[in-house]
Amino acid sequence: MDSNSLDKLTACRECDLLVERITLVENQHAHCPRCNALLYIGRKDPVNTTLVVSISGLLMVFPAYFLPLMEMGTLGLTNSSSIFETLVPMMSGAYWIAAISLFLFAILIPVLLLLFSFWISLHLRINSYPNYLIPLQRLYQSLVSWGMPEVYILGIIVSLVKLLDDFTVVVGPGLFSFCVMMFCSLLVTTTVSRQYFWEALQHAREN
């Protein structure tokens, strides 16, 4: 088949069914008629919303990582830690696997998702398509499923409740910034439109 007639089709990612590609209006979802998998979503103004959300998240990166997360103490002794300091004691011994997964899934990947989606949307906004944009979008798409900011936030809540039983805990400014950043990182995965990216790219190539 030639590429024009191939472009009219899409294959379901979950059951391999050939489905005709249709143009969606805002907030419409296209599902596979056989397995009901989500094929693509018609997003409302994906470029500008992604820019807004990713910039807000990126502004919070510095305070989130370097300001104290919380301060806890008992009998007059206190100890406060920022997110980065939580990695240091785990790096010794066999716990490196826990430390590395904490660093990757809860700290590095959420920031990379913000950074990549910002950079890609910025280029879509100014209609510039440098060669590295395709590998960047591919990397972004493969990282989405490895970001676990929501799990880490629940982890913070669980630790707080455990600590409150025996210690006095004062929540620091880092925690607030961190939650905002994580929320933006979650939100950005719902504002980015993959469909929009690949179509804009193809459109740019043809012209």
């Binding site: 590429s3 397995c35 008992t74 785990m90 591919r138 455990k162």
Partner: protein, 213 residues
């Protein structure tokens, strides 16, 4: 779903001699190896999908034992402290009256890993059977496995946080245990297992497609 679909009329990309790209969802001709739109390596089905998933799931099952027997962490107070496994940690949460948190940790650390591994085994065994049960329920099972998998990381994150925050010299300390490392490895392996399972294989038999890999 809105209406009943006649399975006979539907054609998969593979039986039409085409390959769908998983990255940009474009359709390619069957003799291509690189997607013409995004340049990703494309496969009609993930190569060795079932064997890879078997290997990863069995390894994860074995790691389930040390991660439940070995201590996750030791909370030391004034030089004394008892190592806590996952289960004893949950029991002590209940004894302190922290029921909601206890239930959350129980779901994330005990229920989700065990149900996820059982689910993966069900999917793997069903692929080998002559007459497997419905494709749609099995695809739904896979979606549930994929969605809840990452929540098991909760306990690993909690241990890491407590180790750092509770370091008050002689008064109170939290020391990580080997169980945390085993548990973390187990969760990561199950995520890899789910990622290497190709759900398109579930639907292949339905079309009587016997062309093999």
């Amino acid at each position: 779903m809105p209406e009943k679909i006649n399975q006979e009329q539907l054609e998969s990309a593979r039986s039409a001699g085409l390959i769908g790209c998983e990255v940009c969802s474009r359709v390619n001709n069957g003799d291509e190896h690189i997607c013409r739109c995004c340049g990703s390596v494309i496969h009609s089905r993930i190569p060795d999908s079932i064997n890879k998933t078997w290997a990863l799931t069995v390894t994860a099952t074995l790691l389930l034992i040390p991660s439940n027997i070995l201590p996750m962490m030791t909370i030391e107070s004034f030089g004394k402290g008892q190592p806590d496994t996952i289960m004893s940690g949950i029991i002590s949460l209940f004894q302190h009256g922290l029921y909601p948190i206890g239930i959350i940790v129980f779901l994330a650390s005990i229920m989700v890993p065990i149900l996820k591994i059982i689910g993966l085994f069900i999917l793997l065994i069903s692929v080998h059977r002559e007459k497997p049960s419905g494709s749609l329920p099995r695809t739904k099972l896979f979606r549930v496995i994929e969605f809840f998998g990452k929540w098991s990381m909760l306990d690993v994150f909690v241990v890491s946080l407590l180790v750092t925050l509770v370091s008050l010299g002689d008064i109170a300390n939290v020391i990580p245990g080997l169980g945390a490392a085993a548990f973390c490895a187990m969760v990561i392996l199950t995520i890899f297992a789910a990622n290497s399972f190709d759900t398109r294989i579930i639907w292949d038999r339905l079309e009587g497609d016997s062309r093999g890999e």
